[in-house]
Symmetry: C2
Subunit: 330 residues, 2 copies
């Protein structure tokens, strides 16, 4: 199979690339598990040397809003596209035009390129629970209206509508997945308003103090990188018939307060580690986070067999294993 | 006030233009009723001579996908834009690119032009109940997910999301209204899949036989031109505080079967008139209509004081008065 990942140098993109280069990770439209023969990695940043040196990998580095670059990244024999590239929430809030260009126009360009190929490639679109917001019911169900309170959420909700319509018309075989907030991300904080949810676990585990910019009573809907990658691959491998006419789902996650996250950190790594969190609410971030829905009923995703993390403690332990070589600064 | 109507030569556009040229139809952002001093009418077709000759009217004739034309139609001192222009449902289904260009790109261009003026003009966007569809609950509420089953409905749902986000950011003072199917339209059938809902009343009243392309058991959600125009003006005149953060509403309407519509026609105009309907279901139209939701709970619109027609009989009598000079062929 010939596969493209956009946003491939991002944290989830890298994990997905490694997963897809493993044996028979993907199921083709003929229903059989297949090797990935060519993997095109598109990002504004170069991928790791390890990925770039794999003979199956083609690297395309540049701006996703450049149509010619996108066309090179999605050649006519592409079987599947994983579209992860995005300007994240606070970034799209700060620079409206950039968010529209990357999150909306580039998504539409990818759909259009796939359509012009006439081969109905699979397209997995990374949407977000930020598509919900504002005056919401206590629990967000699959049929709750998308009423985003950020430009990022708006652009993602529009992407879902486009993926559905392009799929309905047979232009692509699309699947739009609303990601919960992903914890624990490795590396540096990014421009997502939710980035603190990872920072408050990641930095203390490495001996650094960290500012938590929201109240400990704030609630978030979370999922781990392991479960997200598992579910992204599952979303690809399900058949069109299994998806049915609606090509979108909120991925399963778990809801908890920031305080409970800190408690889980203490349970896994000790009080000294958890005490490295400084609670200093920031009105801008608090307002964005308060606009997000905290609790979800992901009935459709559960029926489709998507996985859910068992606990925050398990998520923290997996982060320590996957990203810190099992070592923490107690 | 300086006002622009797009789709101004359409049936609702014409009615709205006449209404706005009446005394003090609009309430400005200062809360006082004002005369319309300049009314720009944009459409691909020329407006009626009566409208064109009004000294307050500026006519702009051409393609709404032409950015320069749109900029001329919405000068910097525009107070309010009524954006009614659209490629309707069956039209956008037949020509995907045209639907995207008119329904999505032109809507976005209008939002962008308003934003660049930096004056936060009012923008009333005509959306549609076709934004709903597919696997739906029995009754569509304000918080039911938009899951359109046509490209037209998709493009309208996207327009609503854009209007909300541009409003949230203070670029425009937007209001998106989901119209029920409008009955009874005068003139010729158009490319809307719903056009028969008017034809089956309009043609028999004038002595002509008409084909009804859907089953008499099909249900539709309807509103009259009178109530739609009343509600469009009301949507404009409500304050930002009255609208609150969510700038969209499904307008009130009434739900009935096509058979009940024919019965109302018989009650108003007699059996000979109602017998001019030939029932010949067309699979293409039936499929589109079956994908639309029949019943709505328009709680938000009712709370905001939007009006609802009292009965189909009243709607037919109003059509006879407004469009047929009170005369029917019995």
């Amino acid at each position: 199979m010939n596969v493209t990942i956009t946003g491939a140098s991002g944290f989830l993109g890298r994990k997905l690339a490694h997963r897809l280069l493993g044996a028979n990770a993907l199921i083709g439209s003929d229903g059989t598990a297949s090797r990935v023969e060519r993997l095109t990695l598109l990002d504004v940043m170069d991928p790791s040397a390890e990925l770039a040196e794999d003979p199956r990998v083609t690297v395309v580095t540049g701006d996703i809003t450049d149509r010619a670059l996108l066309e090179r990244s999605i050649p006519a024999d592409t079987d599947s596209v994983f579209h992860l590239a995005a300007v994240v929430s606070a970034g799209a809030e700060e620079d409206f035009d950039l968010g529209m260009a990357v999150n909306l126009d580039a998504t539409r360009a990818i759909l259009d390129i796939c359509r012009r190929h006439g081969t109905k490639p699979k397209l997995i679109f990374a949407s977000s629970c930020a598509a919900f917001g504002g005056d919401m019911p206590e629990v967000i169900a699959d049929m709750t209206a998308r009423t985003p309170q950020t430009s990022y959420g708006t652009q993602k909700a529009i992407g879902e509508l486009l993926v559905n319509d392009f799929s309905r018309r047979g232009f692509v075989d699309g699947r739009a997945l609303r990601f919960p907030t992903v914890v624990v991300r490795p590396g540096k904080p990014n421009k997502a308003a939710s980035t603190f949810a990872s920072s408050i676990i990641r930095e203390p585990l490495q001996g650094d103090r960290v500012v938590c910019p929201v109240s400990p009573d704030s609630r978030m809907f979370l999922a781990s990188p392991r479960s997200i990658i598992e579910n992204v691959v599952r979303a690809h491998n399900l058949t069109e018939a299994e998806w049915g006419p609606s090509r979108e789902a909120t991925l399963p996650g778990f809801c908890m307060t920031i305080r409970a996250m800190a408690d889980a950190l203490e349970a896994v790594a000790g009080k000294a580690v958890a005490d490295r969190i400084d609670w200093q609410p920031d009105a801008f971030i608090q307002r964005i986070v308060d606009g997000w829905p905290p609790e979800f009923d992901t009935q459709k995703a559960v029926a489709l067999g998507f996985v859910r993390d068992s606990s925050m403690e398990e998520v923290i332990r997996a982060f320590i294993d996957d990203e810190l070589d099992g070592k923490i600064v107690a």
